[in-house]
Amino acid sequence: MEALDFALGLFDILLVFLVLSLAWLVMSSEDLFRAIVLFVAFGLLMALVWVRLEAPDIALAEAAIGAGLTGALMMAALDRLSSVKPIQKVAASAQRKQLSLSSKVLPLIALVLIVLGLGYALLSLPEIADGLTPNVKENMAQSGVKNPVTAVLLNFRGYDTLLEMVVLLLALLSVWSLGGERKLSPRSTNPILGSLCRVLVPVLILVSCYLLWVGADAPGGAFQAGSVLGAAGVLLLLSGWHVEQKYLLWPLRFILILGSGVFIIMAAVLLLIQGGLLTYPVAQAGWMILLLESAATLSIGATLAALFLGGVPKSRVDQ
């Protein structure tokens, strides 16, 4: 056992070193493409860090959203930035020459102060803090689920998740109000991409359903399931999947607001019946949470795929 502990300790030190140096490389990299690739690697290592901290729920979310979908979103943004990139580079190199001593020293002082402050805050924490863990454990029986993380996210602090859904919707609305219309790309003639899509998309949908279902008593849940669904959407968009215009208007908008909508309706009804925001009756809590999470999964998946497209979708056929 001691040898195992030693090896894990070594692994942890290596992990910390790698995460810090990757973070530095991401920030200091001149080439944006390189920075994105490094950021994805950083996200994957962060997922490993969460695993080592015994937080598999966050590890899953970090791997799927932090490393996977954020990487795809940034690549899509970079693709659209290509026309402005040269100007930016000139500006950056001109700026570097003008850096005076004070503009180098002042950030350094600020950085040292922040590090000292954070270090002090960290060291002044009590060594063993229970936090809210006993509270959560005590009330698990009433939550309707067996996974404490899901219990907190959907029951004890359900309004947090409700607001997260709204934030996601707002993000998409801002992108749509900026970007104008975007045509779906033409169908890819690449046979490998096509067959990869045909095999992978059903599997991704299945995995998404599994993650949603298993969230009740093991790591998983709406955000992980939704991001897997979003990844399927990104794959379909890349291979030029055909969507008819009639599905792009109201059906798409319906799915996008479904999560927030069901959440708000549920909260309002429960407020009237139970007298509290998202306070489920104990016997019904299980299926109510499942309903909320299913709606949220669909919305998250659709929103992430729509974010990747980066504008109000418009079918290429109907021009």
Binding site: N190, I192, L193
Partner: protein, 97 residues
């Protein structure tokens, strides 16, 4: 006995990953590097999965491990092809001695 075989598979897998990484760092161009990388992904991970599946508590856990391998095989092979094709279309020439 099972522990011995599992160790054997894991070590063999690690060897493939090591060779793949060395290849990724040392090979002269994109195509040969992809070749090294997919070897590590496909065979190395396959050996690792076999070693881990031998230690699995139940058949369903072993099944999940094999499923992961299948997905990586599919994604790895397709992505290697797509990267190589993209590079070729952009005019990256294969290395010649």
């Amino acid at each position: 006995m099972i522990d011995f075989f599992s160790m054997l598979f894991l070590l063999a897998g690690a060897l493939f990953f090591l060779a793949g990484t060395v290849g990724l760092l040392r090979f002269p161009d994109l195509y040969t590097r992809l070749h090294a990388l997919t070897k590590a992904d496909n065979v190395g991970l396959g050996l690792m999965i076999t070693g881990l599946a031998l230690q699995a508590e139940s058949l369903s856990v072993a099944g999940k491990l094999v499923l992961i391998w299948g997905l990586v095989l599919l994604a790895g092979a397709s992505v290697a092809y797509l990267i190589a094709r993209g590079a070729l279309l952009r005019g990256v020439l294969p290395w010649k001695r």
